[in-house]
């Protein structure tokens, strides 16, 4: 089952003045999005979506995209609404909206995991993958 899950703050919730879509600068209540094709159940009240943190002093552009760490987030799911299509022919089998309340916790930071690279990173393009692998080889000393 393919689920699109939106974690959303309630109106006027903590930080509303600074929660913006970067490309338009309009305000948003969206805290996080998940695209879940696993067989796990949908989030329930009490679930905390993860937060991604950038510790500037530890950021290495060779290792990290934006975030250096992650932690259990300060937002907690308070209620869940699910929407399923009448006809199951679209992209998602279910859209889930998780309304969250701000409930900060003292969660420890965990380092982002190692980056994995495979042929799927190239959408199955074996030639592109091999070309990339070649580019990563150290030139032989002559």
């Amino acid at each position: 089952m393919h689920k699109y899950i939106i974690f959303q703050a309630e109106p006027n919730a903590e930080g509303w003045e600074n929660r913006k879509l970067q490309h338009t600068q309009t305000l948003t209540r969206i805290l996080a999005e998940h695209w879940d094709s696993s067989d796990k159940p949908i989030p329930e009240p009490g679930y905390r979506p993860l937060e991604f943190i950038r510790v500037e002093a530890l950021h290495d552009p060779n290792q990290h995209a934006h975030s250096t760490h992650y932690r259990k987030g300060d937002w907690e799911v308070a209620r869940v609404e699910t929407y399923t299509p009448d006809v199951p022919m679209g992209k998602y089998d279910m859209v889930v909206i998780c309304y969250c309340k701000y409930s900060p916790i003292n969660a420890s930071l965990k380092p982002m995991p190692e980056r994995q690279i495979s042929i799927d990173s190239f959408g199955g393009d074996e030639a592109a993958y091999k070309q990339w692998l070649e580019s990563q080889k150290e030139p032989a000393e002559v």
Partner: protein, 90 residues
């Protein structure tokens, strides 16, 4: 692929109707994994192909080829080709 690692800890003994019964606590750990991709669309493709939960997509700062990191819940690994599994069992 397991999305959550967990272990069970016995934390106490509890008296129930005159009998000591153990009380257990389930400790749940959160795992994430990160897979590079040439563009953001490939993240959802991986998610659908392997049945993973995609929880974030981040733009890499400098890489001209691998432009994004796809972040998945759980210890996700790509399935090994059949012949590699065969070699391991030799």
């Amino acid at each position: 692929m397991t999305g959550w690692g967990s272990r069970v800890e016995r934390v106490a003994l509890s008296e129930v109707e005159g009998e000591s019964k153990p009380v257990y606590k389930i400790i749940v750990a959160i795992y994430l994994s990160r897979h590079a991709a040439t563009d953001e669309g490939k993240c959802e493709v991986m998610s659908r192909k392997y049945g993973w939960a995609l929880v974030g997509v981040e733009k890499t700062p400098d890489d001209p080829v691998l432009k994004v990191d796809c972040v998945f819940e759980g210890k996700t690994e790509f399935p090994k080709p059949y012949h590699e599994n065969e070699k391991e069992s030799d």
